[in-house]
Amino acid sequence: MSTTPSQPAHHILSVLVQNRPGVLARVAGLFARRGYNIFSLAVAPTEDPNQSRITIVVDVESSPLEQIVKQLFKLVDVVKISELDPRRSVERELLMATVRVPAEERGQVVELVNIFEGKILAVGFEAITVSLEGSPDKLDDFEELLRGYGIVELQRTGRVALPKLDKEARLRAVKGKAS
């Protein structure tokens, strides 16, 4: 999936939740129940151990964003929802891949990793495991190029995002707690 700066093809929802058992199931269940599609999802604790941040990417066409936000807000464990404008936020994702590559061609993959400023995590006779952290677009390009060598296994984390600091991030905090 590629993103042009003027027309974001996805929405990023940054959902602050109480760090309680079952909260992810509630959020995921709501998406399933209302027929919304999750493109990617990342969950981790925040600076406050009582709260977690769920970063959800939904694609624009499939889902009426306003309804998603309002329905999410009705979950008692949801404390705050911010919609992050992809143009004004920093997004990062991690990719790990094992590529089948004979020793004589390994240099090409290493070169690719260096160009993208990735890392080599493990090297075997017939394969190499690499990682890359960066913007999702960059990861898309990297994945595409690796594919020519034969990807054995690939794992991406789904994106996490925070508002940009330079300009005041357009952080549309949705007002009014749902009932």
Binding site: V17, Q18, P21, G22, A25, R26, G29, L30, R33, E66, Q67, K70, Q71, F73, K74, L75, V76, D77, V78, V79, K80, G176, K177, A178, S179
Partner: protein, 584 residues
Amino acid sequence: MSQKITGAQALIRALELEGVDTIFGLPGGCILPAYDPLLDSPIRHILVRHEQGAGHMAEGYAHVTGRPGVAMVTSGPAATNMVTPLCDAYMDSIPMVCITGQVPTTAIGTDAFQECDTVGITRSVTKHNELIMTADDVPLMVRQAFHIATTGRPGPVLLDLPKDVLQNSMTWHWPSDEEVLDSLPGYRPTQKGHPRMIKEAARLILEARQPVLYVGGGVLKARAASALRELAELIDTPVVTTLMARGAFPDDHPLCLGMPGMHGNATAITAMQKSDLLINLGARFDDRITGKVSSFAPDAKIIHVDIDPAEQGKVRRPDVPIVGDCRLVIEEIIKAIKDMLASGEKQADIAPWKSRVSGWREQFPLHYSPSEPGDALKPQYCLEQLRDNAPEGTILCSGVGQHQMWSSQYWKFNEPYTWVNSGGLGTMGFSVPAAIGAKVGRPDRTVWAVDGDGCFQMTAQELVTASVERIPIKVAVLNNSYLGMVRQWQEMFYEERYSEVYLSPELPDFVKWAESMGCVGIRVESPEEVQPAIEKANSIDDRSVVVEFRVDASEKVFPMVPAGFSNDDVLLHPDHSAKREFLR
């Protein structure tokens, strides 16, 4: 001095402190510890015959009292039997707290006897649910449950209590309001409407030439019936009350048009269709109201008052969305209108609109063909007789299907909280247990349950509960030996190909069945017997009464907007079809 008690004792004490006077339930293995301190509690427990009955009784109780109904059952199958009432309460925004037992915390996840993932199963049919993992959490969780169930948009909350949590000892502490609020940082329902939106609503109301007040269940939940009446009279505007709002505005009021929707009356449906301003108070543009959404009230601007922000724009985008409690918002709108009138503004002339509406009303009263001598008994006639012979203040409950629609159509609801039915979920079998719950909540009132023969066979065993617990209700079974509404659709839309809708005309014997459950059973087969039977039923108040009316299976509910049709294409009773051009 801190006091050590068990989790079970804490649970019962917390329920007492929340003001619970009645629990509807049925004990079993994992909830056993909670039933022991219940013996020493002033809380009345009503022992049901099936857990679904406990849930619907709690709903019926909540419907008529406005207080949360409480149901308590054990784990596993008891919890799964509770899913239907929870979903029913969720769809109709009924405040309810359900306590379920669970296997001990050490056994959770091991597929233990009578274990099921209760919070997982009920997550999408409750407003909130919690698995309580330590006895110390019991009081706070109970307080949270009642707070969440009764505030904002009301709904069911479930607390799942493992057996060891009930048995373990804890230090009693009753949390303050602040502690409850602090423990729920993500839950702050909006009560007051936005002042700018309220002004904007007042302006639209004064400008409208063809306004209609579209009143939903939210008005009843907000206890806003008298505020609504003041508003309607102030702006002299016709009122429609949805299935969930029957009684929110008196049916005998000259401004009341009655029920709109799939089986609403032609005037209510058409007034909404032709209006230039729909003032939606606590309704949700349900598909049974709008018909085909794209052609629903095409020229109407929309004011939408709802305490749930997610209802705003879900189906129809409002011109003026107002999130807030219906009563507070209506009062603010009244104030805003009065201010504007005082400062010299005038309301647009709505007299031509009102006379047009009156014309429809004259042309299209509710109608059925009365039976000729020797004909089968008409169900609508039974409803009329039940209505005309009902003691003042009677509460009417119904199941789901044709009898439900006739009940809503033919009854005169002149008082709020006198109508109990399953609107959103459409739960067959709702009426008998709901009527029992309603009678427990309002023992001073006569409670009639109108049921179909299909519905009655789903939950009738709760009449045993009613007899044993001395809760006298009255049940009118409109027996047409069919799943009547399904039959109606098969007749109209499936070329009279009747598939699996014929029940037995002779089985069960409703009179014997009623008698075997400790009730008086009466069978009515002809029009002359109707009134005497109803009078007899009304005169019995020491036990429940079941009156079986053998009614005409060919009767259909009219008017009807078939699913997916525009409200413009409402099907009238055949006797009225010839004059449908009056509905312009």
